[in-house]
Symmetry: C2
Subunit: 310 residues, 2 copies
């Protein structure tokens, strides 16, 4: 197993012939009725919710592990349940890895100096002694410039892990700030793309396949700007959110890949982990929510394969 994160991810994608990642963003009111109904009494509401997420998460991971190379687990959905939530997040990270999945911890952290180093150690490394898994890569916010990112690069380099820098996000108001235009023709997010490419190459983490362990979160907005950020970051693997529920077009998503079909991994969350709530799957699988999720995942893979022409 190569220790370089980018090589590991690209190999995992090749093995499953699917540049996809299932996002795990669980919400209580969207869990299968069966799980909610089985709820046993816990010492607190937060422990109860965290346990439901753990149960659901283990089932989802078991269903998708044979199909996809990676999952993205979003810690935001666990933090409302305090320490219990964080424990469940870490347990699911470890469980996914035991099932052979690559795990991206969607933590969107960043700070400066010692604080950033502490976040990097906390989120990417087990060296401070807390039990549970640590993801193969995490998402980080670029607002601080290099100081906010470098501690993550350092820990990632030491431990064979990766970092995805938020470059172009998928929210409606992203352009309010990320789209602001400089006089040289760059937008704010294109400046961040240039910084990210610089970090990706400068950090000494480019693997055998020509990609760095420093990748970028890029949600395509239109064809021209997507082509632009793709060309600005030749060494970065794009983590592409917004397929399915957030409705990016196939053509837009296709532009996140290079001509050889590498360079991006597409994520979908609700269209897979909430498939049991979709009439088209319920009609077919009835109360078999695992079957719905498996089919939702298969359909997601088929859609992305179509996009990449493979």
């Amino acid at each position: 197993m190569p220790t370089n994160f980018a090589d590991r991810l690209l190999n995992a994608i090749a093995e499953k012939a699917a540049p996809v990642c299932v996002g795990f963003d669980p919400q209580l009111d969207q869990l299968p009725d069966e799980l909610r109904g089985n709820a046993v009494s816990q010492r607190s509401e937060s422990a109860h919710c965290a346990n439901l997420f753990a149960d659901f998460g283990r089932e989802v991971l078991a269903v998708v592990a044979p199909l996809v190379p990676a999952v993205k687990i979003n810690i935001a959905f666990f933090e409302p349940y305090g320490p219990d939530g964080v424990r469940t997040y870490m347990e699911l990270v470890g469980e996914a890895q035991r099932l052979g999945l690559m795990v991206i911890g969607d933590v969107k952290r960043a700070d400066i100096g010692h604080s950033a180093e502490r976040y990097a150690v906390g989120q990417l490394s087990g060296r401070a002694g807390a039990d549970g898994g640590r993801p193969d890569a995490v998402t980080v916010n670029p607002y601080f410039g290099l100081d906010g990112v470098k501690p993550f690069l350092d820990v990632a380099r030491e431990e064979g892990r990766g970092v995805f820098v938020l470059v172009q996000t998928s929210n409606p108001s992203a352009s309010q700030f990320q789209g602001l235009l400089f006089s040289d023709g760059d937008t704010v997010c294109q400046k961040v793309a240039r910084m990210t490419e610089e970090w990706a190459v400068g950090a000494g983490m480019v693997g055998e396949r020509g990609y760095s362990c420093v990748g970028a979160v890029v949600s395509p907005r239109d064809l021209a700007s997507t082509d632009r950020v793709r060309s600005l970051m030749p060494h970065c693997i794009f983590l592409v959110p917004g397929f399915g529920a957030q409705g990016r077009s196939a053509e837009e998503v296709a532009r996140c890949f290079k001509a050889d079909g590498t360079g991006a991994i597409v994520t979908a969350s609700r269209s897979v982990i909430c498939a049991h709530r979709e009439p088209r799957y319920r009609d077919r699988f009835g109360g078999d929510w695992r079957g719905c999720i498996e089919q939702g995942c298969q359909d997601f893979i088929t859609d992305v394969r179509r996009v990449t022409g493979r």
Copy 2:
């Protein structure tokens, strides 16, 4: 007690006649020897470290509570210890509030859509059921534009709490991104200052004293740019890091205040909570580390009062 966060903070500052905030960023190797020596065996290294931070934190809070209006607790220093660390963070938030302190949770969160709402609920509200305290305000990152901030504003409005948007940070590389210049003469961080003022006024959270529950983290870089951001955000209370250890000059910090002496709260962390490691305090107080911290806090207050001319 007014429920508006800005009014509560300004009243607390007036009561102590000190626009200061003690930052709690504990590191294991900087704890008083006495505490490290007392360490009892715990079920794990992380539980052990989290307990040391809890012991140290309770002592620090008891020392500073009679002197200052507010503390800022940085969750980055707790996350390496996993669920145990998060539990300690929340316990200390609650303990500080029981001692009458306002608490700023330095969490630097941001995301979009449901994720941002989950962070806001998790970090600002106890409504999801986890035990422990929730801070009176949190720090948030502006990179997503309004979508990343609005869920925090909504929870803050509902629960009488506040939000500090990162505008100008204190790290050396901040200017790499925040200092980039637009053709209209604004820098990136001045654009963020304008957005933040808009959110501060638009969120309907301006209190009786003319300040909004939406404030800004502003580390002064030079006199001219500090004057500029101060004038761009008339409704925002500035949370000013970098006094003491990070070495901002008194004159620079003074420009974060308005002429009437309101509008800013200055933070210091290491110069207070690590005062027992400074020869000038050890020479005077010997092994009495609480005495060192109390004097470090008094000196910090004196310095800030001198800066503001009060």
